[in-house]
């Protein structure tokens, strides 16, 4: 399997990359880790005339704590997220989710920005960013835009990015007070795409009431889904077996799975959304309580 030929650029600055993207627009693709784009090019599902390799733009790779926010550069690789002590301290759901991505070879190359731009509904990090209410910062020669994660995923493999724009960074407001998160994934074999996976992030007040609930669903819709009804149901409520069970039930009703011969029927996947949402919420709650 050999990709169609293309012209290769390897800019050393973000500006240079954006100039190329502005010139070639949808005839060009940005190459980050290549763990999704290269197979697509080999299968000739995507055949860009120009490839803009941003791997030399090191200024796009960082994990920074800034006031009450966390900023992650688009070129940050999964192994860096997996090992990051900043994330372990502030948002350990990110470390946990990274361990579920592919295998070491994939995590050594694959980037968070590449994965989000690819917008595969089976991608793990879309759900995590949705659960954390993250924001996507894009850049182009016209300047930057801030897009809520929920507005970023438009359809399968389709984002709100314009043809002359690239994903620059992900910004997340850091959770306050007692908080915890979990990413749980059901897969056929190590490193596979999820049958179903669920990201959950919770904050609780001193009385044990929920004051933040974020739930993201993987592989059960045209995009990663934010289970908004389930989130707002839980908000302000005591977290106990009954409320968690009801939240999981609502999340399952929000899922839009389809039958697939490899990873199971829609009915099975919907049932698994309930099971995994319960598991993720229970784990997140345990971690929020610090037990």
């Amino acid at each position: 399997m050999i990709p169609r030929n293309f012209i290769y650029f390897s800019p050393s600055s973000e500006k240079e990359a954006l100039e190329l993207l502005n010139e070639y627009k949808s005839d060009a693709r940005i190459l980050a880790g290549g763990m999704s784009l290269i197979p697509l090019m080999k299968m000739r599902l995507v055949s860009p005339s120009y490839l803009i390799d941003i791997n030399k733009v090191e200024s796009l790779s960082y994990i920074k704590e800034e006031k009450n926010r966390l900023r992650i550069g688009a070129l940050t690789r999964y192994y860096e997220i997996e090992k990051s002590s900043t994330l372990k301290k502030l948002l350990p759901i990110m470390n946990e989710a990274a361990t579920w991505v592919g295998d070491p070879q994939v995590r050594n190359m694959g980037t968070i920005g590449g994965s989000l731009s690819h917008a595969d509904p089976s991608g793990d990090f879309g759900s995590v960013i949705l659960a954390l209410n993250g924001q996507i910062i894009t850049s182009s020669l016209n300047g930057q835009r801030t897009i809520k994660a929920d507005d970023f995923f438009v359809d399968s493999f389709t984002t709100a990015l314009n043809a002359n724009e690239m994903l620059k960074e992900i910004v997340i407001d850091l959770p306050e007070g007692m908080n915890g998160g979990a990413y749980v994934k059901l897969e056929r074999k190590a490193g596979d795409f999820a049958i179903v996976a669920v990201a959950a992030q919770l904050s609780i007040d001193s009385k044990g009431n929920c004051n933040y609930a974020g739930i993201g669903l993987t592989s059960v819709g045209p995009t990663n889904l934010k289970a908004k009804k389930a989130e707002s149901f839980l908000l302000g409520k005591q977290l106990n077996e009954r409320t968690i069970d009801e939240t999981a039930e609502i999340a399952a009703s929000e899922a839009r799975p389809i039958d697939d011969p490899l990873r199971g029927s829609a009915e099975y996947k919907r049932a698994m959304v309930k099971v995994l949402t319960k598991r993720a919420l229970n784990l997140a709650l345990k971690r929020a309580r610090g037990v």
Binding site: S10, P39, D53, N108, A190
Partner: protein, 160 residues
């Protein structure tokens, strides 16, 4: 066509070659440089037989455009054998009876080598995870984790 000249450092040796942008590092290693240790399997980053180490990290060479490896240090299984001696990881793979058909072994050895390069004292879980990108269709892959433990022992012996 748009061939470009690139410089690679392969197993410590500088190589200057001309490549097309669409050619993978795997192709360059096997067909231009004659290093046939890394194998071609699925060609989509699913089987791990093409695994090599680039700047200290295990990668799928089939998914790595060679042009992107410009200036990088690449280690293949051939590079582990030095001064007529097998690398401890290679010796351990032999001694732990990990080889049946052998097709997956160069990739598995490079995953093992990369693991120990980055994490000299891996847990059982780390070891299992390190091989999660390498398939073995024979039964001998079962012994890879044992080979890692043996390799650690050989490396300690070599140091003392």
């Amino acid at each position: 066509m748009s061939k470009k000249q690139i410089k690679l450092i392969v197993n410590g040796k500088e190589e200057i070659i001309e490549v097309n942008p669409y050619e993978s590092l795997l192709k360059v290693l096997r067909e231009y440089l004659g290093l046939t240790g890394a194998k071609r399997g699925c060609d989509y980053g699913g089987c791990g037989v093409c695994t090599v180490v680039v700047n200290g990290k295990a990668v799928y060479s089939c998914m790595y455009p060679a042009i992107k490896a410009e200036g990088k240090e690449i280690t293949t299984v051939e590079g582990l054998y030095k001064n007529g001696k097998l690398h401890p990881v290679q010796k351990a793979f032999i001694d732990a009876n990990t080889v049946q058909c052998g097709y997956s072994i160069p990739g598995a050895i490079m995953s093992a080598y990369a693991l120990l390069l980055n994490n000299p004292n891996p847990s059982d879980e780390d070891i299992k995870e390190a091989f999660s990108g390498n398939l073995c269709r024979c039964s001998a892959g079962y012994y890879w984790p044992e080979a890692i433990k043996l390799a650690i022992k050989y490396m300690k012996q070599r140091e003392s």
